[in-house]
Symmetry: C2
Subunit: 340 residues, 2 copies
């Protein structure tokens, strides 16, 4: 008694492959033939699972978005960019906030895989244990288009919109050198995160090109955390012969550094010159003009979402797309050398 595609074909007086083309909305079918087939399908109340799936698909046009810290406005801006384009394309966003926990990221990916979503945009967290089998396997077995934004994942070759962080690290360090600094420290994130590692590579490159030796004690791991950057800077400022300049690799850490400088009654750039990463409007407002590398997170979100739409349109049958955006250096004066 089960109704098959052949029954529909017989009643509509067409071949089964024609019915299939109508069901999948693929390939050419004459308009009146199409209408006749659709009428039969409706009359027979025939809903094969594939159709049921595609019906629901058109109802819940959703994409997944995974961010490591929803309370950081950097990620809020990425999401703002994503939603602008998602809205225009009638796509909903399922949001996961991982608090930088790898297990939450893996879990979000697994949950999204179970959903009938169109694709995923993700900023991987910057936890310590990135090179975890479960994680890499989950990503490899997704079978859903995925776009990384702002941070890459080692051992994978995924679509993504990235920032040229090597260039960022290089430019920051090079600007310090041009100003006359030779004792330049860097507060990095966890080196298991690509942006942190890349900024450090750029830092080292600038020193090497300028024949300044790389001092391992000037490379501080701030883990992208405000508190950690605060502690490291407090300790640094207590040293007699401390560096005169510091590259600070995230907006949260810049706040930690400023807190420390403030508590120690020191001044920027008189006691310590700094160059930060990411825009922080508030710094200007309070009269702290911090030079920074800017990567426009709203733009990254827009680019990532456009890339995902393109991949969805092509039905996933396209080459891996990887776009790298160069950060811009915004000079405000905090890089200057005052005391040599």
């Amino acid at each position: 008694m089960s109704i098959t595609i052949n029954d529909i074909a017989k009643i509509a007086n067409v071949s089964a492959s024609t019915v299939s083309r109508v069901l999948n909305n693929s390939g050419y079918v004459k308009e009146d033939t199409k209408k006749r087939i659709e009428a039969v399908i409706k009359e027979m109340n025939y809903i094969p699972s594939a159709i049921a799936r595609s019906l629901s698909k058109s109802e819940t046009s959703t994409i997944g978005v995974i961010v490591p810290d929803i309370t950081n406005s950097y990620f809020g801006e990425i999401i703002k960019g994503i939603s602008e384009i998602a809205e225009k394309n009638n796509l909903n966003i399922i949001l996961f906030n991982t608090d930088n926990y790898l297990h939450k990221e893996v879990n979000a990916l697994k949950l999204l895989k179970e959903q009938r979503i169109q694709g995923i945009i993700m900023t991987p967290g910057f936890g310590e244990e990135k090179f975890n089998d479960d994680y890499i396997n989950t990503i490899h077995n997704l079978n859903i288009p995925i776009i990384l934004v702002s941070a890459d994942i080692t051992f994978t070759n995924l679509n993504g919109v990235f920032v040229d962080n090597v260039k960022g690290g290089f430019e920051a360090t090079n600007l310090f050198i041009k100003e006359g600094h030779t004792k330049i420290a860097i507060i990095t994130g966890l080196l298991s995160s690509e942006p942190a590692m890349d900024r450090l590579i750029g830092y080292k490159k600038a020193l090497e090109i300028n024949k300044i030796p790389v001092e391992e004690e000037y490379i501080l791991s701030g883990e992208f955390k405000l508190e950690k950057a605060y502690e490291l800077t407090k300790n640094l400022l207590k040293q007699k012969d401390h560096p005169t300049a510091m590259v600070v690799c995230s907006n949260m850490m810049t706040m930690g550094v400023i807190k420390a400088i403030n508590e120690e009654n020191k001044k920027i750039p008189d006691d310590l010159s700094i160059i930060g990463f990411d825009k922080n409007e508030f710094l200007d407002m309070v009269g702290l003009n911090i030079t920074y590398l800017e990567d426009c997170p709203v733009e990254l979100g827009i680019k990532a979402m456009n890339m995902l739409c393109d991949i969805i349109d092509k039905n996933g049958k396209n080459e891996v797309q990887r776009l790298t955006v160069a950060p811009q250096i915004i000079i405000k004066g905090s890089e200057k050398i005052i005391n040599k």
Copy 2:
């Protein structure tokens, strides 16, 4: 040729209402009868829309979250609280960012109504044209549990977790009066927003109780916008006999006020005492100790999500739940009077 519930009933040799009970999984049906009916349904490939709907429902356990500004960390923190509890309850979050546009809010509500979601948590925006028929009708016709968080909507009586903003406005103003201020201004949001209106009511109440006349020119509409608060404060500071104190009704506006004070080379609280709303860790870090009213957005998110879970458990058959949290005043010194 269309297969109906009666066809299934005939083949399974039961009544149509028994089939219905199996389809809806409601009411008692003998186990072997149920199995027989299910076999027929499967054989006939019968999928009425209701079933299709309930099938998908169990797969996509989602709630909708609507916020007015995803780049403001206040809302990031609310979402953080919501996700913590959502995750524990295996609920996904579909996110909408409205950029404070009423039409985007209405659109988000309509889109969510079409989805098979379990409920909605929303912070209404603070646009000008709140009392719009389409808006109120959309909300009244949702038929999905909805929880408001942090801001109420006039003309509705919805579930929600609110902040006692009358108390907030009152306490801020009263603290200024205790310090000796008599010329106290307030920068409000748009008065079509409940929090803005409530804080103004509290402000007026404190003045009245203390027999200080309410001066209309001391009530400034900052529209919750940084730029607007900046301009208003610039103008205010240029007046010879300007107020000595100002209640600033949001963290974004506090930033605008500080920017203006800074540009005019004035000092807090020497030239203008201020009390803000919402925590801003950064202010402390740069040595600006601003007294503020704190309403713990992460906690609001947690409470809203717990309320939604409770309502889902009770299948929506419960009374309207409205919870009001008192804000806490965090005294830092910016309220002090220096020049009389």
